[in-house]
Amino acid sequence: MIRIQDLSYRYPEGGFRLLLPELDVARGEAVALIGPSGSGKTTLLRLISGILLPEAGRIHVGDQDVSSLSESERRAFRVAGIGLVFQEFELVEYLSILDNVLLPFRLHGRLRLRDADRERAAGTLQDLSLGDKMDRRPAHLSQGERQRVAIARALVTEAPLILADEPTGNLDPQTKGQVVELLRTKAGEAGATLLMVTHDHALLDLFGRVLEFGEEEGATTLVDREGAQ
C-alpha cells in the first residue's frame, strides 16, 4: 500500500532532517507511529498525504507516486485516497455534524455528493452512536463525540488509507481506548490501511505494527517492531 524509498526531507527553517531509506506498509495494516516530539511522525504523515513534498526520494501510495504529482493532482489524491483525522478534530463550527462528515464531498469537485453518500454518512454516524446528533453543531458535543465525527469524516469517502495524527491527544484515558478501537475496527472493516501517530504507549497493544521514531546526529532513526496483535 505504502512504499517509501530514500526519502529525505529538511524543514524549511533548517535543523532537523527526516531520512527514511525504506518503509513498506501493506494494505489493511494498522500501524502506530511513536517517538518523541519533533522526531518526524507528523511530517511523515504530511509527506504521505502530499501536503509536503520531499527533498528527495519516492513515496508510492497504491499505484500513485505522490512525490511526482502536481499540486492539484495531490489534492485530488488526498480527497479520494486518504482519510485524515487530526488531534484537534478540526470540525467546522457552523456546519451540522452530518455536514461536517460530508465536507470532503463539498470541498472537491471530483467527489460528487449523491444521495448514496448522504446515506453512507448517516449510516457511519449511526455506527459511531451519533445517529441522534446529526443535526447538532460540534460545539454541542463532548470531546470524544467530536473525535468520532472526525473519524466518520475520514471514513466516509471510503479511502483506502487513513492517516490519524494523535487523534487521542485531547481525550480522557477511557475515551482514548474506545476511539482507537473504533478507528481500528472501522478501518479494518473497510479494508483500509491505518497509520496513527500517538504518544500513548498504552494504545500500542491495539496495533499490529509499531514504528518508533528516534533521532541520531540530526537525522531520523526508525525502529520497526511488531505490536501486540
Binding site: 485524515l84 487530526f86 478540526e90 467546522v92 464531498f105 463539498r106 470541498l107
Partner: protein, 392 residues
C-alpha cells in the same frame, strides 16, 4: 453550488453579525440614492402644483408661508386678508378670484373654506355624492374620506382650536355631501366647505332659536320694537339643518371678514402683469406672489442642503465600506484554522476563494436588495412624508 451552500451555512450560523453587516451596507447604498430620489420627487410634486397656480394674494409677510398654506394647506398660517380683497381682485376685471379660508381642522384634516370654483380650478371631480351647496355642507378629499371612514350622509365635527378656551370657537357639525376622486395632491386630505361655512366655524356667523317665538321667551332679556336682546340661555345651533339653516346669520361687515389667501387666475399674460403691478405700491398691505418662483427658491435651498448631506453621507459610507471590508478581512483571518483544515482535506485555493466570495456576494446582494426595496418605498411614500416634514 457546494461553495454556495457552505457560504450560506456560515452566514446563517453567524446571523447577527451578518444582519449587522447587511443593515450597515443597506443604509450605505440606500441613503444617498434614497435622499436624492426623495428630494427630487418632492420637488417635482411641489413644483407641479405651484406651476398650475398662477398667482396668490395674501397679507404682507412671509411669501413662503402664504404659498405653503395656500397650495398645500400646511405650514404656518399667514396673517389673514380682509374679504374686501376678493372683490378687489374680482372687480379689477383682470382675474378670477377664488378665496381660501384655512386654519381649522376636523380630526387632523384641514378644513378649506372656498367656493365651488376651487373644485373646477383644481379639476376635482366628485366620485360619490355632490358638491357643497348649502351652509354647513362639506365635501371630503378621497384620502380624508378613507381615513375618517366617512361617506355622503355622515356628519363630521370641526375640531375646536383650543380645548381649554371656553370663550373660543364652538365646533360645528358638518354634513358630508360628497367625496372627491383621488388626485394624489394635498386636496385628497382636505375637507372642503363653502367660505361662509368656514366663517361660521370661526364664530363670525351663527344660528339660534327664533326669539320672536313663544318657546324662546325665557331667553329674551329685553324687547324694544323689533329689536330683541337675548340672554345667555338662548340655544345656539351646533349643526346646520334644513330646519334651522335660515336662522344662521352673520354680524358685522362681511368685507372685513378674514380669508387666508386668494387664488388669482388672470385671463392672460397681460392681465397677470397688470394685476401684479397693482399690488406693488409702498403702502400696500397685501402681497401678490407667483407660487412657482417662491417654490424654486425653497427647492434651491433644499437642493443645496441635500448636496451637503449627500457629500457627508458618501464620506460616512466610504468609512462604513472600509469597516465592512475590515470585518471580512479579520473574519477570514480568524478562520485561518478552518481554511487550513479545508485545504488539508482537499479544497483548492479556488474553492476557498469561491466560498469566501459567495459570503461576500450574499451580504452585498441582500444589502442591495433591501436598499432597492427601501428605494421603492421611498419613491411611493417618501414624497408625502418629506412634504409633510418640509411644510410643518
Amino acid at each position: 453550488m457546494e461553495s454556495l451552500y457552505l457560504a450560506w451555512r456560515y452566514l446563517v450560523y453567524h446571523r447577527f453579525k451578518t444582519l449587522l453587516l447587511v443593515l450597515s451596507l443597506t443604509l450605505l447604498f440606500f441613503v444617498p440614492v434614497g435622499l436624492r430620489v426623495l428630494v427630487q420627487q418632492t420637488a417635482l410634486e411641489l413644483q407641479r402644483r405651484a406651476a398650475t397656480t398662477p398667482l396668490l394674494v395674501g397679507a404682507k409677510g412671509s411669501s413662503l408661508d402664504l404659498v405653503l398654506s395656500g397650495l398645500y394647506f400646511e405650514g404656518t398660517r399667514p396673517e389673514p386678508l380682509k374679504g374686501a380683497e376678493i372683490e378687489r381682485v374680482q372687480d379689477s376685471g383682470l382675474a378670477l378670484a377664488i378665496p381660501l379660508h384655512l386654519g381649522f381642522e376636523a380630526q387632523h384634516h384641514p378644513i378649506v373654506g372656498s367656493t365651488v370654483e376651487y373644485l373646477d380650478f383644481r379639476a376635482l371631480e366628485i366620485e360619490v355624492g355632490r358638491r357643497f351647496v348649502f351652509l354647513g355642507e362639506c365635501v371630503l378629499g378621497a384620502a380624508a374620506a378613507k381615513e375618517l371612514g366617512l361617506a355622503p350622509g355622515s356628519t363630521l365635527v370641526s375640531s375646536p382650536q383650543n380645548l381649554f378656551d371656553l370663550a373660543g370657537v364652538y365646533p360645528l357639525e358638518m354634513q358630508v355631501v360628497g367625496v372627491l376622486a383621488p388626485k394624489g395632491t394635498p386636496d385628497d386630505r382636505a375637507i372642503f366647505v363653502d367660505l361662509k361655512t368656514a366663517w361660521v366655524i370661526e364664530g363670525l356667523g351663527h344660528g339660534h332659536q327664533d326669539l320672536s317665538k313663544d318657546d324662546a321667551a325665557a331667553g329674551v332679556l329685553k324687547r324694544k320694537g323689533s329689536q330683541i336682546t337675548a340672554n345667555a340661555s338662548v340655544r345656539e345651533f351646533q349643526r346646520i339643518t334644513d330646519e334651522n339653516r335660515d336662522s344662521f346669520h352673520f354680524h358685522g361687515d362681511r368685507s372685513a371678514f378674514p380669508v387666508t389667501a386668494i387664488l388669482a387666475l388672470p385671463h392672460d399674460a397681460k392681465s397677470k402683469a397688470l394685476l401684479m403691478g397693482r399690488f406693488q405700491s409702498k403702502d400696500e398691505t397685501s402681497q401678490i406672489v407667483v407660487p412657482s418662483k417662491i417654490l424654486d427658491q425653497l427647492m434651491g435651498t433644499v437642493f443645496t442642503v441635500q448636496d451637503y448631506i449627500v457629500a457627508a453621507v458618501v464620506l460616512v459610507g466610504l468609512s462604513t465600506l472600509a469597516t465592512a471590508f475590515l470585518v471580512f478581512l479579520l473574519s477570514w483571518r480568524l478562520r485561518r484554522g478552518e481554511i487550513e483544515t479545508m485545504v488539508r482535506i482537499g479544497a483548492s485555493k479556488g474553492r476557498i476563494r469561491a466560498l469566501l466570495l459567495w459570503e461576500l456576494a450574499f451580504v452585498l446582494s441582500l444589502s442591495v436588495l433591501l436598499a432597492a426595496v427601501l428605494l421603492l418605498l421611498t419613491a411611493s411614500q417618501g414624497g408625502a412624508l418629506l412634504r409633510h416634514l418640509l411644510l410643518t
